[in-house]
Symmetry: C2
Subunit: 242 residues, 2 copies
Amino acid sequence: MAMPASIEARYSPRVGALLNLAAHPAESRAPSGNAPIAWRSAGLDRLGSTLAVRRDRVLLHLGDEAGHYHKVASGALRMVRVLADGRRHIVKFLMAGDFFGFSGSQTCAYAVEAIVDSTVVRYSRRGVEGLIDRDPVAGRRLLSLLFGELSDAQERQLALGRKTAVERVASFLLQMADACSCWRRDSFELPMSRTDIADHLGMTCETVSRTMAQLRRAQVIDLPHVHHVTILDRCALERHAN
Amino acid sequence: MAMPASIEARYSPRVGALLNLAAHPAESRAPSGNAPIAWRSAGLDRLGSTLAVRRDRVLLHLGDEAGHYHKVASGALRMVRVLADGRRHIVKFLMAGDFFGFSGSQTCAYAVEAIVDSTVVRYSRRGVEGLIDRDPVAGRRLLSLLFGELSDAQERQLALGRKTAVERVASFLLQMADACSCWRRDSFELPMSRTDIADHLGMTCETVSRTMAQLRRAQVIDLPHVHHVTILDRCALERHAN
DNA sequence: CGAGGGCTTGAGTCCAGTCAATTACTGTGG
DNA sequence: CCACAGTAATTGACTGGACTCAAGCCCTCG
């Protein structure tokens, strides 16, 4: 996996800041309302233990016991499902600030792999459930987090079911612009490969490549580097996304 | 919308049984673990008010205030999203026993319409939240319900992104066999139109029709009536579903 | 018994997939 | 520091599965 040093640097962990989750810059982007802030105030940060995952390593295997909740502290991971004959689908990309690993069942229905060197905070299921029992506010915040996940998943369903290649890529770029941009809103790193994007959007890497080239030729985006996107005309991109 | 009288009868409400949700036969199929039983025992049934929705009528409009939780008592409804140019996607079909209408945001991101004459029980959001605050068990059960929803949504993402027409239809039929079969496991009514199925599976009604004909020719299913499916060879159907 | 809507089936088209060749990077080892 | 190897990304030519358009059928209802 080829990756310039600058990206590595951006996704490198600052271990000293991990226990105080609020210190992470991604905290301010509020993935689903203001849930993370509530979690922090509810004392979740004292329950977690830090974990480093190197690029392409598997954090959770399919079928693993689903005994922990996780939060991405730095880096980027992918949630992967594979069909019997090898067709792959990436359920979602996990970026800094995202929670994952919670599940109703006892086992994990997907694998979680690191796209770049990453750090996650792991919370024991028991600890979180205890917290919820003691503090109804924390429970309600977890609910609101899940509502957000659910509506995201439904949005992706719509895209996969009814949108064209250009519309999917445009929507995806807008989404990633929100999730990735740390300094400038319209210029960001895209850590995952074209194949990863394809497996997320239900297309092939060739089509992803062609589609992004098309948007570049139309002056809607610029690609100064394979893994760096600049949005030149946000309105046009939104129009393309439908 | 053409619909034989027998289906009407099956989906007609038994109002006397509605307040005691446990009495409904669909209760036993446990859509996501044993959540409904917990809800019942937690006293949710005293909070609800019954509501009848006639076929093709809209229960919730896009953008309506999301002030209530609902449960399908009888009938079948669809959760619909529409793109600007009219492309339609059915996020999910709501069958007897399904909960819906909960959402993190203040407004509804989809419309809910009745496929056949249906009855739903409506719970005030405030009442449910109060119940959760008083009873942590109820809260945890709602969580487990949401986990189930989420994993269903992810399953559908996989299907929409990576499965072929036959695989989608086969998976859908297996799903519906679980959700619809009241008397015999492998023979059930399919209340929705081919167009509804198409908009759920990301295809056209022509392709749905062709695909079901193909499965019928292969002796995997039988279609004694347009809205009645009999599974002749469940193993083959599962193989087709991948 | 006719009208209308949903369903089915057929013929032709097109968007995205497949296969293949080339280019661009990056990381490795001399 | 440079040459090389291996992988990812891009681009082109061709193919194919699902879509579009269109006609006919079937059922239901007025």
